[in-house]
């Protein structure tokens, strides 16, 4: 028996880190991007009602419940994106299923390269490989606030390139790509006739001082977020992905959606059907309630995340010789650069030890950020994600999530301080 297709696919390093962390008692994790909040009560009540009515246990249409897709269409229209709920929107199993289904539908033997920004979400390369494609990284420019390097990007596009897949606001950097850069990106991809898959799951967590564009209307937080899916002329090349997981604290419900022109959706739906038949119906009812009734909760989540961001950045400011970082203006991640490393040095021989012990296991040395993250986990029981998980230019960084409670952030950051003060 062989697993030729999957043997090169790895479990995401974020999940690897969570598995390692689960073996250690008293661990505080700032690794996985899980909101500390529970799903809002208004959503849970609506689901209980649906369960009581006996309507949530059956398959929905493959596209999803029409009520949900109508609610999505209305929500999108509020954000100046105009898509037909009947033919251009699919309810998916979180965003990653939408991404994978899209990739499977567009990747073929002649066009199999998908460009990913580095750093960007750790599961993208594996999703590309699952779809039979090859991830190609284009490094973002850290010193310019993790901006797109257009000259590098242009060089990476070739006859085999089928799409660019990116996350905006970006995970792990928490930065937002400017409207100007997105237009440049659109122009480039339009000329090269390649798809743009934009994953915008953090777009509702934008913090106050961020001002993207002042000449257009502002969103409910008072600031404008721009999406390429707002431009009608790009409908045929843009596939937009969104998830309820982060915005409504619904990571476990596994519900999201994708939308694009009918021409694309009519192909993606075939893969979606083959993979999952439909998104979980019970979660679709939850999503209807979320879209219709949970706006107040989003604003509250956003306010609290901003406080937590300031809290975690305050701690990082106390360690200037250890970390340098750019204050994130979105999402709930900060991505500091490691300036000082004190790991795996044998005190007797003063030599670097190849490998990292976690409990009884010895893990081979992978990278500086991996070593640092595992050492931190081993010594002070704090789980973080090594930057290498997010692509080559993520190396030398770690990702800290401030989706966790203030108490957890205080505890984790105090331990990190102790780790360096030892």
């Amino acid at each position: 028996m062989s697993f030729l297709r999957t043997e090169k696919i790895k479990l995401s390093p974020i999940k690897q880190m969570e598995i390692l962390a689960s073996q250690i008692p008293d661990v505080v994790s700032l690794a996985q991007g899980i909101p500390s909040f529970d799903t809002p009560l208004v959503i849970k009540k609506a689901v209980m009602k649906a369960l009581g009515r006996g309507v949530a246990a059956k398959y929905s249409l493959t596209y999803g419940l029409p009520e949900l897709r109508e609610a999505i269409e209305q929500k999108l229209a509020d954000e100046k994106m105009y898509y037909d709920f009947e033919k251009e929107i699919i309810a998916t199993v979180g965003s990653i299923e939408g991404i994978t289904a899209s990739l499977i539908s567009i990747i073929n033997e002649k066009k199999d390269e998908v460009i990913l920004f580095s750093p960007s979400y750790a599961s993208y390369p594996e999703a590309v490989r699952v779809a039979g494609g090859k991830p190609v990284f284009s490094n973002l420019i850290e010193k310019d606030g993790w901006k797109i390097n257009f000259s590098d990007l242009a060089k990476k596009i070739n006859a085999r390139t089928v799409a660019i897949l990116f996350c905006n606001p970006n995970n792990p950097t928490g930065t937002i790509f400017s409207k100007e850069d997105l237009f440049k990106l659109a122009e480039l991809t339009w000329k090269k006739k390649i798809f743009v898959i934009c994953d915008e799951v953090y777009k509702d967590f934008i913090y106050n001082e961020t001002r993207i564009d002042t000449d257009t209307n502002t969103d409910k937080h008072g600031y404008e977020f721009f999406s390429l899916a707002q431009i009608p002329d790009l409908r045929k090349m843009v596939i937009r992905v969104f998830s309820m997981s982060k915005i409504y604290a619904m990571t476990g419900w596994r519900i999201g959606f994708i939308h694009s022109d009918e021409e694309n959706i009519s192909e993606i739906i075939k893969v979606h059907d083959a993979l999952v038949t439909c998104a979980p119906t019970v979660s679709q009812y939850a999503a209807i309630a979320a879209l219709n009734f949970a706006d107040k909760e989003i604003n509250e989540f956003c306010r609290q995340y901003q406080e937590r961001r300031d809290l975690i950045c305050g701690y990082l400011d106390e360690l200037p010789e250890v970390f340098s970082y750019q204050k994130p203006n979105s999402s709930y991640f900060v991505f500091p650069k490691i300036l000082k490393i004190r790991i795996n040095i044998d005190k007797k021989t003063d030599k670097h030890i190849e490998g990292t012990h976690i409990g009884q296991y010895l893990y081979p040395r992978k990278s500086v950020s991996w070593d640092f993250a595992t050492d931190l986990l081993n010594k002070v029981h704090v789980a973080v994600v090594p930057g290498i998980a997010f692509g080559p230019s993520g190396e030398g960084h770690i990702r800290l999530s401030f989706g966790k409670t203030e108490k957890e952030i205080h505890e984790a950051m105090k331990r990190i301080k102790n780790y360096f003060n030892e």
Binding site: L65, P66, Y82, D84, P232, R235
Partner: protein, 259 residues
């Protein structure tokens, strides 16, 4: 706060408001495309300079409808909020002053169980009804789609003698309802034998273009919309019907300017 008490209070406050103010109520009903049809009606009436109020998103059933009539928000899960809303409801019911020009109230009417329409009609009887379509959605508490159609039959029956029903004849069930109604009917759809016939509908890069033929006037209207999907074509047609049928009188127009 007990849902039953809230429901009863809101219902009676809404009834008193309607009795005192006497707005022109327009119901947008159907199981699909209600929201966009409602938005189109509001746009059309505003274009004609009528004073309009409309139900907010999803304020369309037992609690939402009276809230829409009274122009109040939802108390959501908060007892204190509901208490305040009930107080405001009484205020609105007894203290609101009728505007100089008749107010239009555009309301979505949603039903999710048999006899749902009877309850909504016990609050308000619309003078104009728009029926968008009857599909499999929201059908969970109904035996079948015909049972939903029966609810709309009741709606048409309860309209005043001078009421107007705007019906989508592309939906066979809705077309059949027209046969049993003696109210004034305006039909619309893609077929040629309707009052407002959608002759051409074409998807373009930034929306849809359509041509609507108004049969009794032998007139054609070209419309361009920045939205996609058949339901927007219908909503635009409804907009044209409203524009054609609701025209402000010159007296009312000057009255509004004076106000």
């Amino acid at each position: 706060m007990n849902k039953f008490i809230v429901k009863i209070c809101l219902k009676w406050c809404a009834k008193i408001y309607i009795w005192r103010i006497k707005p022109h109520a327009i119901f947008v009903a159907g199981t699909v495309g209600r929201y966009w049809a409602k938005e189109s009606v509001v746009e059309a009436l505003k274009e004609k300079n009528f004073p309009v109020r409309a139900s907010k998103k999803n304020f369309n059933a037992e609690i939402g409808l009276p809230l829409s009539i009274l122009g109040l928000p939802s108390g959501e899960g908060s007892f204190i909020s509901w208490l305040k809303i009930i107080c405001n409801a009484f205020n609105k019911a007894f203290k609101s002053k009728a505007p100089m020009t008749k107010e239009f109230l555009v309301l979505e009417a949603a039903i999710d169980r048999p006899d749902g329409m009877k309850y909504l009609l016990s609050i308000i009887k619309p003078k104009t009804v728009i029926l968008t379509g009857i599909t499999m959605i929201y059908a969970e508490n109904f035996e079948n789609l015909d049972e939903i159609a029966l609810e709309y039959k009741i709606l048409l029956k309860k309209m005043p003698w001078n009421g107007l029903a705007i019906l989508n004849f592309d939906d066979e069930r809705i077309k059949n309802l027209a046969e049993s109604s003696d109210r004034r009917i305006i039909s619309y759809g893609f077929s040629k034998d309707v009052d407002f016939s959608i002759e051409r509908s074409q998807k373009v890069s930034d929306g849809q273009k359509l041509e609507i033929k108004i049969n009794h006037l032998a007139k054609k209207v070209q419309v361009k919309i920045g939205r996609f999907g058949r339901h927007h074509v219908y909503a635009s047609t409804v907009k044209e019907i409203i524009k054609e049928n609701f025209k402000i009188s010159t007296i009312d127009f000057f009255k509004q300017i004076r106000d």
